[in-house]
């Protein structure tokens, strides 16, 4: 379990010479096996939150605990980073090596594992994201979605319990986005890895077990996708793009209370309107 206890993060902004409160008293518990989506507009603090989960940033106030270990404890730093993997936004800027398999091996190599074990983990990780056939290719020959899958494999090879995705699809085309989302879903459902997906795409949040909406460094909404998406007006006020079906359901519900307001997919909408 990852536990955020009254987490506050303040940083000093050079350009405006001001202190900015990126996170303001955030408390949250992330349970094993969960798939959580953290939604919010740019600058709402969601990326800062993500970087606290594996000690890339440390709290100004409050604590973050990963499996009961405080992230501020320097002795446990590498255990924490191995337990909580992180996939970043730009697929290009997180691949280190000149071939796919060498890149996937990077994490296990840093952990000082035996070559034979690294080999096994690399092969397994590449299979888990469906990239085995590209193992000898250079990263620059891959598409955005494929690069992001390799980045995910690099994290899986370290066998983390949690993976934080920091806007993993923001720079991808629709096809790449689907590849990454399918991989994410499969890791959660089949491998039981806890997923924390930081995003501003509502379509991705629909797939989660729990959605957390942030604004100005605070959690403003939290609940199942259905619960959260009933607040269409609030979400729109926060400049989040509500999926058209959700918005349509809300509008229909306003006119006719018989139509449910918490419809999230086109299939559900069809079933509701033409039973």
């Amino acid at each position: 379990m990852i536990k955020l206890n009254h987490l506050t993060h303040i940083f000093y902004k050079e350009s405006t010479k001001q202190e900015v409160k990126a996170l303001d008293d955030v408390s949250l518990e992330i349970h094993e096996g969960e798939h959580i989506a953290v939604l919010g507009h740019n600058g709402c603090g969601k990326s800062t939150l993500a970087k606290h989960l594996n000690a890339l940033l440390l709290p100004t106030e409050g604590t973050v605990e990963v499996d009961a270990v405080d992230t501020a404890s320097e002795a446990d730093l590498w255990t924490i980073r191995q337990t909580v993997g992180m996939v970043f936004q730009n697929p290009d800027n997180q691949l280190v090596a000149t071939t796919v398999e060498e890149d996937v091996a990077f994490g296990p190599e840093n952990m000082g594992m035996e070559p034979s074990i690294i080999r096994k983990r690399v092969d397994e990780a590449l299979e888990a994201v469906g990239m085995q056939e590209y193992k000898d290719k250079g990263p620059h020959l891959l598409s955005g979605g494929q690069k992001q899958r390799v980045a995910i494999a690099g994290i899986i090879a370290m066998r983390p319990k949690y993976i934080v995705f920091d806007e993993p699809t923001a720079m991808l085309d629709p096809l790449g986005r689907r590849e990454v989302m399918e991989t994410m879903q499969r890791l959660n459902k089949e491998e039981g890895i806890t997923i924390i997906n930081i995003t501003h795409f509502m379509e991705e949040a629909v797939l989660a077990d729990r959605v957390i909406v942030m604004e100005h460094g605070r959690i403003v909404l939290s609940g199942t996708p259905k619960e959260v998406f009933t607040h269409v007006d609030l979400l729109k006020r926060m400049q989040l793009d509500v999926p058209p079906v959700v918005e349509l359901a809300a509008l229909l519900h306003k006119e006719n209370k018989q139509i449910a307001a918490d419809l999230m997919t086109i299939e559900e909408m069809v079933k509701e309107l033409c039973p």
Binding site: G85, A97, T98, T99, F106, P115, I118, H140
Partner: protein, 265 residues
């Protein structure tokens, strides 16, 4: 333009040279360079030429890859040859104005020209048969003994790997920025040297800014993947000397001995 340089272009294959340990190959190339400058008569040079041709044949690399490498340094070779030919004092064979070709000059020109061409061909073989990653591994490993004297062997290797990884990315980015600037009327081709250098500024500024941003993000991604320097780090493919490396080593020593021997013919 950047794609014409052979150095750093690995060509997959399964020749004997591909299978050699990178450390063996690096040391062999060093010994080869020494031998090339040890030989001082046509017997020795001829022997080195034959040896080089044999090595090229063993590598099974199409000849056009060597020509590509040679083309890149053709100017330097020609300049060297010309300088040697005209500047070496000795018995004059031909004279025109202040230009004099001497017998010794021609000899020197042939020697330097051949040496340079062989040197480029054989170093190309090193990079053509060795993946950049195993090349850096080899260099890191060879430099390790010097770590005690403060040589940052691991850091150097890591920097080389990252540089190799990002060259294609940055080339691609350069092309993109150039097109974007050209679309808004930038002109990179005409004008004198100063004007052209000035035209590069709108290209270099975004390129550098982006490179710094990339470096920042990459560092963070590396840290998130538990990178903490070379200490206790293992490798997926550990380097191991085999029988063929020992044989190659012995052959290289024979080559050096032979090179010294030819001086006395």
């Amino acid at each position: 333009m950047l794609k014409d340089i052979t150095i750093g272009q690995y060509l997959p294959g399964n020749s004997l040279l591909h299978k050699l340990d990178p450390r063996t190959k690096i040391l062999a190339v060093l010994l080869y360079m020494i031998a090339l400058f040890v030989v001082n008569n046509f017997w020795g040079l001829g022997a080195m030429l034959i040896l080089s041709i044999v090595v090229i044949l063993i590598s099974k690399i199409p000849l056009r890859f060597f020509f590509r490498g040679i083309k890149a340094i053709a100017f330097i070779v020609l300049l060297t040859v010309a300088l040697q030919m005209f500047m070496t004092p000795g018995e004059a064979l031909w004279q025109w104005g202040f230009l004099t070709i001497t017998k010794e000059g021609i000899r020197q020109a042939i020697f330097m020209g051949t040496r340079l061409l062989l040197l480029v061909s054989l170093t190309s073989i090193l990079t053509l048969t060795t993946t950049p990653i195993s090349l850096t591994d080899g260099i890191e490993n060879l430099l390790k003994p010097f770590q005690r004297f403060g040589m940052p062997a691991h850091e150097l290797a890591m920097m080389m790997t990252i540089a190799l990884r990002f060259i294609p990315t940055l080339v691609e980015e350069t092309e993109k920025i150039m097109q974007a600037q050209a679309a808004r009327g930038a002109d990179f081709e005409s004008g004198n040297l100063v004007e052209r250098a000035k035209a590069m500024i709108p290209l270099l500024v975004p390129l550098f800014l982006n490179a710094f941003k990339r470096a920042d993000e990459l560092a963070m991604a590396m840290e998130a993947r538990c990178y903490h320097g070379g200490e206790n780090r293992t490798r997926l493919k550990a380097l191991k000397y085999g029988v063929r490396d020992v044989v190659t080593g012995v052959l290289c020593l024979c080559m050096i001995a032979g090179a010294f021997f030819t001086r006395f013919i």
